[in-house]
Structure formats: C-alpha cells, structure tokens
C-alpha cells in the first residue's frame, strides 16, 4: 500500500489530539471520547495508541503541567506533527473521493 493507513480508533485519537491542542493528554482524550461518542474506552487502550502514533512520528510529546486533580503528577502533552496532519488530511480526502463515487440519489430497493 502506498499510503500510510490508520485504523478508525487511531484516526479518532489523532484527530482529537489535533483538536484539543494544548490540552491533549491521556485522561483528557479518554474523557473526550466518552463525551463525543458516548463510548467507554479504557485508559490503557488510549495510551497504547498514543505511544504507537508517537512511534510512527504522527505526534510528539512533552512533559509538563501538573494539576491538583491528578495528585500532582505531570501530564504528557501530545501535539500533532506535520506528518500526522498530512496523514489525516490524506485520509479525509480519500474518503471524500470514494464517497463521491456513491450514487447519491439512487435508492436501492431490491
């Protein structure tokens, strides 16, 4: 396959990281997913994907920002890289292209 490919969960998390900006870290992303999708995900699943995407070079992380509600532990804040943005965009474009091929007005009734 020529293009890099992400599965839907990876894509979702990458998008959220891009969207949350300064506030993109494990707990926040987990809570956001729950809010947006109404779906419970375990923290470890989110973490695993974050590490993987970082390994692939789609995001980078810095440590900082301890707050009281996390018992004074620092956050690992993620931010999307250019490569990550490119992949997201590419995927979106591909999907739109394919979507265009779907005969929009035809009602299949068989």
């Amino acid at each position: 396959m020529g293009k890099e490919f992400l599965n839907d969960f990876e894509e979702l998390i990458l998008t959220l990281v891009a969207a949350l900006g300064e506030n993109a870290y494990g707990a926040a992303i987990t809570i956001e997913i729950e809010k947006w999708l109404g779906r419970k995900v375990t923290l470890s699943a989110v973490h695993v994907i974050l590490y993987r995407l970082e390994d692939k070079g789609y995001m980078k992380s810095t440590v900082g920002g301890a707050t009281n509600e996390r018992g004074g532990r620092r956050k690992r804040i993620y931010s999307i890289t250019n490569a990550g943005l490119a992949v997201l965009r590419a995927m979106k474009v591909t999907r739109t292209e394919i979507w265009k091929l779907v005969p929009q007005l035809k009602i299949v009734n068989s």
Binding site: Y25, T42, S44, H47, V48, A66, E69, R70, G71, K75
Partner: protein, 875 residues
C-alpha cells in the same frame, strides 16, 4: 484521591516503563476523580480497578526496555543453542539420558497414582478424621484374637455414656442374597443391614430419597448399578422388592451412587438392621453367640479420642459387665480410624476388601529408588558430558562468565531434559495405562494424575531429581580452574562423587534384582504348594439359604449321575473362606479332667475326604452306615493333634455343647492331613469335623470332583440345578481358580516389581554403557601409548573394564546383605515360605558382573582395537 491504592501502584510499577509511569498514574487519578463526580464513588472505584488491570497488555509490557536483561536473554539463547549443537554432536549420550529420565518419570508417575489411590481409601467421607470403626478383642486359647465386630450392645452403650460419640451405626453383611422383582431373582453382591443412622456416620451420595431412607423398617436403599440392573432406571422410589424367598416385601426408599472405588465398604443394597437395639453384653462369653450377635460398628466422634478414652470406655462398660468377667475373656474394645482400615492389619470377621500395606511400601520404595537411579544416571552422564565440553566452559570463563551463569547454563539444560522426559513419560503412561490397570489396580483412572496428592508427590519427586541433576554437574564445573578447563580435553571425571554415584547405582540394581528373584521364588512356591487336597478338577457350588436337606440329598444324587462327575459332597467350609468356631471339651493325654478349648469346626458328609482327595492319616472316615456317627464321631486334623498334644488321637473322648447333654459327644475316629484353605499367610487352624446332626444343616457348599471337559460338566450341573432350584442362578467356581485369585495380589505385585526392576536395570545398563564410552575416550591416549609399548587388545580390554568390575564388586558386597535382610522380613509375613539359600545371591552377584562386562565391552573393545597412531597424534 491523591494517589493510587498501594496494590495498583505496585502492579503498575512492575509492568509500566519507568518513563511513562508518572503520566499513567496521573491520568488514572484524574479520570477517577472525574468519575467520582460524574458517576459516583462505587462505580468509579470498579472502573479504576478495571483500567489498572487492563494495563497488563502487550502494548504496554513490550514498551519496557530490557536494557539490563537483554544480555541475559541473549545468553539464554546462547546456552540453548550450544546445548542443541552439543546434542546433535553426541546423540547417543542424549538418547540415553532422555531414555533413562523418561522411563523413570513414567514409572514414578504410575507408582504415584497407585500409592495415592491406596492411601486415599475412605477419605471421601465427610469429616473422615472423626469416623472410627470399633474393634474388639477376645482371648481364645491363650491367644488374643482381634475382631472387626462388636456385640450389638456396644454401640448403644458408647452412645449413651460417652458424650464425644455423636452418632453410631451398626452394619451387618449378607452374601448369597438375591433380590426378587416379580418372579425373577437378581444376584445382589453385597446386601448390608444397617441402622438408619448410617447416613449420618458415613457419607453416601443420594440420587433419589434422603438420609431418612432407613427409618422405615421395610425400606431398602439401592445403588445406581443395582437399580439399573433391576429396573433399568434410577427413578424407582416406592417400587416393591423381595429378598430371597422371604415373604416380607421391601419398598425402595432411596437410590444412592455406587460406593466409590476407594471405599473399603462395598454395598449393592442396604436394608434396616433387624437385630434389636439392646444394652446386653452377655454374648461375649460364647464364641458362637459372640459372632452371631455382633455387627461392625462405625461411630462419628465430635473430637479425637483422647488419651483417657480407654478409661472412659471401661467406665461405660462397667454397669453392663463386670471388670473381672471382662478380664477373664480378655474382652476389650478399641477405635480404629476409618481411613486406616483398608491398609491396616487384618481382623477376624472383616467382610470387605483389604489392601496390602506391604505393597504400598514396596512400591513407594521402588519409586524412590527409580528416581535415585535415574538421577544418578543423569548426573553421571551430565558430568561426563560437560567434562567433554570443558573447553567451552573454559572459554566462557575466560570471557568473563560468572559462577552463577555457569550454574544457569546447567539448570537450563536440566530443565530442558526434564520437560522433554516429563512429556515422554506422561505419553508413555497414557499409552500403557491399560497395562497398568491390569498390573496394579483396575480402579485407577488416568485422570488421577491431576489429583493434588499425585501432583504434589510427582512435582516434589521431579524437583528433588532436578536438584541433584543440577547440583553435582554445576559444582563440578564451577570449581575447576580455567587453565585446567582449557588445557584438558576432559577433566574431573575421576572424582569421588562420580564413583560414589556409580557405586550406589550398582548397589540399588543388585538389591532390586535379588528381591525380584526371591519374590518370584516365593510366588512359584505358593502356586505349587501341597495343599493337602487336589485342587485340580474340583468345583465348588454355593447354595442359597433356602436349600433344604431334601434338596441336598436329591441334588447330590443327581450330580453323581452327570457324566464326568466322580464324586460330590457337601460341607460348611469354603476355600479361602471362614470356619465356624465353638467351645469343645477334650480328653487330655496325661490329666484325667477334660480341657475346654475353642476349636474351628467343619460340618461335612461322609464322602468329603474322598471328594477333596485329602489323605486320611489314622483311623477311619465317617461311615453312612453307622447311624451313631452323626453326633458321636469326630475327625480332627494334624494341627489339632499337635495343638492338643495327643499321642494317640484315636478314641479320645470329645464333646461340645454340654447343655444338650450327650447329643454331641463321642470319640475321635480319624485324623486327616491338614487342608490349607485360607491364604498361605495363615497357619492351618486346629480343626474338628463332624457330621451334621441327622443332616440337619444343609451347609452351603458342595464340592464336585470331575474328569474331562470343564464346560460340559458345568453345563450339565447347571441343568440339574435349574431342575432342583428353579429361578436361582448357579454360583459355581473352579477351586483352582479361586485359590489362585486369592494369591492374585502377590502375582500382580510381582509383575509390577519385575517391571520396576527391569527399568532400574535398564537405566543402570544405559549408564554403564555410556560411562564406559566416555571413559574410553578420556583414556584413549593412555591406551594408545600402552599399545605402542606392546599391550595386547585383551590387556587393554581388561584394563578398561576393570574399573567398573571393581566398583560393581564392592557395591555388591554392601548390597547383598541388605537384600538378604529385606527378603527375610518380607518372607516372615507368610506362614509357609521358602528357605533363603545363598546361591541366589551368588547368582545375582555374578549376573551383575556379567551385565557390567557386557555393557562396558563395546567401548572396551573399541579402545582395544584402535590404531595408536590416530590417538597419539591427536592434539
């Protein structure tokens, strides 16, 4: 919440990479705090638990950098590869090591299953430590006899006076019974009569009905098998049955599971006991009444009987029987834990199967010996093997391997071997399991391998084996110097450790060979023992209780008409079964007064001796034409003559039952040779035979002497029997077969012992073979130089084999006396036994030497025949 619970912290620290830990912890705390606000504390806690557990996933675990461990892992890989390479190079050594270990594992597991099964008897009862059988003791002719039964009064008395006795149940056993359904009779192997409290004392699993089943006097409890046999289903509550020809009917009140294989008690059906619940102990004075008015008694205690329990029993018995009376007949009762019954000593009037503790011990010892021999073999071979790899060790040491790393290497190899041999051993066990059932015990199951005791024993055995297998070779290597490692092609074999190991291996094999040989001799002796009667071509038929005197006469007459039958007689004794016992008054040789003795008695007709083919030593047999013979003529056996110290037995005055004066009074008219009808563990008992009073007791057994075709005769007898006793199945056994089945335990144990010994010998031979091969390589250069200097092939051969022969010789010197002692002890359990002579030991000694020579000769021959040039130039 400021921080995670301590367990979560520990778990996460263990699994998460250090650099990620802080953020993970923070995230978990943050989510928890968020969730406490949104969904409540309880739910948040559960979700936290779940989230923590979910961190145990490959995506997290594998992010750990094994920076320090990576080297170790590589080393493991390296050890493994070098081991594999080495195995490929020395296939023979590998095969022998593996074969030895696998055989030992296989035998060890088989024995572990057998032994734990034997030890598990009656432990399935709920709270079995508190269940006891009450045994009793009587003094009979100066001998203390132990009975497994107690008079009916004992149970109620103990229950009433001793508060620790929670409940008690009497059990009686009836054989030769039939259950009657409509007009058909079904044989009932074991009918128990028991108190309704039986189900509180012992544990039975109910399919239908409950513990109250025996409270109705006409209730009958069937086992699953019996219910299926009668009705084809277990759903049979309230169905009506009869027993034998008794007009009383019984109603099925419960159906229970069959008694488990590891139960000493065996039941097909249980009915309520008829004997009344009484407090009298009058029966203990009279030997006949004692047995008749007694039952096996099981009690459940609330606590173990303390040291003062005998006094408590004595105090309880005091109101019912005076202490002086009790002392006179030596009457005493004692408790035996139910789990000890099966392997315990044999008591009189025990109805059910007994195990033999001696075989359990013998097999346990055999299992340990097997492990020891296999362990020694493995250690010797590994030392030899590793020594030939001493350069590898040297190089490792030079490159900085530490002691513990070398030990790790040895450990890994040992683990690898034991894993493979365990698999092979279990595979063998699975494949050969039918054979094991045949040899050891038909009630064993392969699944028993998974029972906790088997696992514990198996694992501890294997761990011990591993410990030795690792300790010795590891010590060997770690302690040799680097230079020595590098210089010599092989070093450190001739150590005292190896010699001691080889020595004990030889000794164990010699002991095993000796024991097996002598056990074989004893078993052969039993099978061919002169029994005082001819057991070939003899049938014994058991008659039901309804068989009348008239039936007996006509049936015996009919039997004699059957072609092939030469004679038929009835008697009260059964081969291998019990006798009656009664008080007799006999004339003494030198004193005028009559002596009161307890003698065993047999009722039989006038032709019994003829039928059995036993010898009449003096006097005459009973004569049907002398009417006074029934009642006044007595025949005794040799043992009775010996016991009563009679010089002229014929004409001695003898009587019994003085209360019926003159009815059973007369003289001894004949002496017969001892008839050995109980197993050969026991001495022949002093016996009196008499005719039944005007044939009033149609006593239960008919002996038939025949010639020619077995099946034809049995068929003809069956037809006659059907005509006489319609509806009753014929119970007919060959005496020869019956006799051998009594000694089956010995034969089976012998076969297993033989197998065990064979394994031990095989393992030892494998050991000698490969040790010899190894030694020859080690001394190759020496042999080469000797050859150059003019040594012949024979000289080299002897030189080489000498080492092993010398070891074998000295080990035999130690082993043979031990074997002698063991065999002597075992033989003492038999009343009739072979004499131990010395030549079998000599024979074993020579055989073992021969074995050494044969197994060592291959390599000795090779080293004798090699070309010295090839060896000397090697460097």
């Amino acid at each position: 919440m400021k921080s995670l619970p301590i367990w979560a912290e520990r778990l996460l620290r263990a699994i998460c990479p250090d650099e990620l830990y802080e953020q993970i912890e923070g995230d978990l705390i943050e989510i928890y705090n968020y969730e406490v606000k949104t969904i409540g504390k309880g739910k948040a806690k559960r979700r936290l638990l779940w989230s923590v557990i979910m961190f145990c996933r490959s995506g997290i675990l594998l992010r750990n950098k094994f920076s320090t461990n990576q080297n170790q892992l590589a080393m493991f890989k390296n050890y493994f590869i070098t081991s594999l390479r080495h195995i490929r190079k020395s296939k023979m050594n590998f095969t022998f090591k593996l074969a030895g270990l696998s055989l030992a594992t296989f035998s060890f597991l088989a024995i572990a299953i057998y032994v734990t099964f034997q030890l598990s008897f009656d432990t399935y009862h709920k709270d079995y430590q508190n269940v006891y059988r009450v045994n009793s003791q009587r003094n009979e002719n100066g001998m203390l006899e132990n009975y497994a039964i107690v008079p009916h009064g004992i149970g109620p008395i103990l229950k009433l006076h001793i508060p620790e006795v929670v409940s008690m149940a009497r059990v009686r056993y009836a054989n030769h019974t039939y259950l009657r359904l409509d007009k058909n009779l079904y044989e009932c192997e074991s009918l128990l009569e028991a108190d309704s409290s039986l189900f509180n004392v012992l544990t039975f699993r109910f399919i239908k009905g409950n513990r109250k089943a025996l409270q109705k006097s006409n209730g009958i409890v069937l086992t699953r098998t019996m219910a299926n046999k009668l009705f084809g289903t277990t759903d049979v509550l309230q169905r009506v049955l009869g027993i034998n020809n008794d007009p009383n009917l019984y109603e099925v009140s419960a159906v229970i599971e069959d008694t488990p294989a590891n139960s000493h008690l065996f039941a097909s059906a249980i009915i309520a006991i008829r004997d009344k619940y009484e407090f009298s102990l009058a029966s203990i004075n009279d030997p006949v009444a004692f047995v008749d008015l007694s039952a096996t008694l099981f009690v459940r205690m609330s606590q173990p009987p303390g040291r003062n329990f005998p006094e408590k029993v004595e105090a309880a018995l005091e109101p019912y029987i005076k202490k002086s009376d009790r002392n006179e007949i030596g009457f005493n009762v004692s408790l035996q834990p139910i789990a000890d019954i099966y392997l315990g000593a044999t008591y009189r009037n025990e109805y059910f199967g007994k195990g033999s503790p001696i075989y359990v011990y013998a097999f346990s010892v055999l299992a340990i010996l097997l492990l020891v021999v296999a362990g020694i073999n493995y250690v010797n071979l590994s030392i030899a093997d590793f020594s030939s790899r001493s350069r590898e060790t040297g190089v490792r040491k030079v490159l900085g391997a530490r002691k513990h790393q070398l030990v790790t290497q040895v450990t890994i190899e040992a683990l690898f071997f034991s894993a493979i041999s365990l698999c092979v051993g279990i595979g063998l066990l699975y494949l050969l399991f039918p054979k094991i059932l045949e040899l050891l015990d038909a009630d064993l199951r392969f699944e028993m391998l998974l029972n906790t005791p088997v696992l514990v024993i198996g694992l501890s055995g294997i761990i011990t084996l591993l410990f030795f297998a690792i300790y010795f070779p590891a010590r060997q290597f770690a302690n040799t110097g680097v230079i020595q490692n590098l210089k010599s092609k092989s070093g450190g074999y001739n150590s005292s450790v190896s010699q001691i190991l080889l020595f004990s291996q030889f000794a164990i094999s010699a002991i095993c060979i000796c024991c097996t040989y002598m056990v074989g001799q004893q078993i052969g002796f039993i099978h061919n023992k002169e029994l005082g009667f001819d057991r070939k071509n003899l049938l014994v038929l058991s008659m039901p209780q309804e068989f009348t005197v008239k039936n007996m006469e006509t049936f015996k007459h009919e039997l004699k008409q059957v072609p092939g039958v030469t004679n038929a007689s009835n008697s009260s004794f059964r081969i291998g079964g019990g006798y009656w016992k009664d008080w007799y008054f006999v004339e003494q040789e030198d004193k005028p007064e009559m002596k009161k003795v307890e003698l065993y008695e047999v009722f039989s007709d006038d032709e019994l001796f003829l039928t059995l083919g036993s010898r009449l030593l003096e006097g005459r047999t009973f004569n049907a034409n002398i009417p006074s013979d029934s009642g006044a003529a007595f025949i005794v056996n040799e043992s009775a003559v010996r016991e009563l110290r009679w010089k002229n037995p014929i004409g001695k005055h003898i009587y019994t039952h003085p209360e019926e004066k003159g009815k059973w009074e007369g003289t001894v008219v004949g002496v017969v040779s001892d008839i050995n009808i109980s197993p050969l563990y026991d001495k022949v008992k002093p016996l009196v035979m008499r005719l039944p009073w005007t044939n009033a007791y149609p006593d239960g057994f008919i002996y038939v002497r025949y010639l020619g075709n077995d099946t034809a005769v049995v068929q003809a007898i069956e037809e006659k029997y059907k005509a006489t006793m319609p509806g009753y199945p014929l119970l007919c056994r060959f005496v020869d077969e019956l006799y051998n089945s009594r000694h089956q335990k010995e034969s089976k144990a012998f076969a297993s012992l033989q197998f065990g010994t064979l394994v031990i010998i095989l393992v030892s031979v494998l050991g000698i073979f490969s040790m010899a091969a190894y030694m020859s390589i080690k001394r190759m250069r020496e042999f080469g130089i000797r050859k150059v200097l003019g040594a012949s092939v024979t000289q080299i051969f002897t030189l080489h084999i000498n080492y092993f022969v010398r070891l074998m010789f000295f080990s035999n010197l130690i082993a043979l006396p031990i074997a002698y002692w063991l065999i002597k002890n075992w033989l003492e359990t038999f009343a009739y036994r072979i004499e131990i002579s010395y030549w079998p030991f000599l024979f074993v000694g020579l055989t073992s030497l021969l074995l050494v020579i044969v197994s060592g000769s291959f390599s000795a021959w090779k080293s004798g025949r090699m070309n010295p040039v090839d060896v000397i130039k090697m460097e």
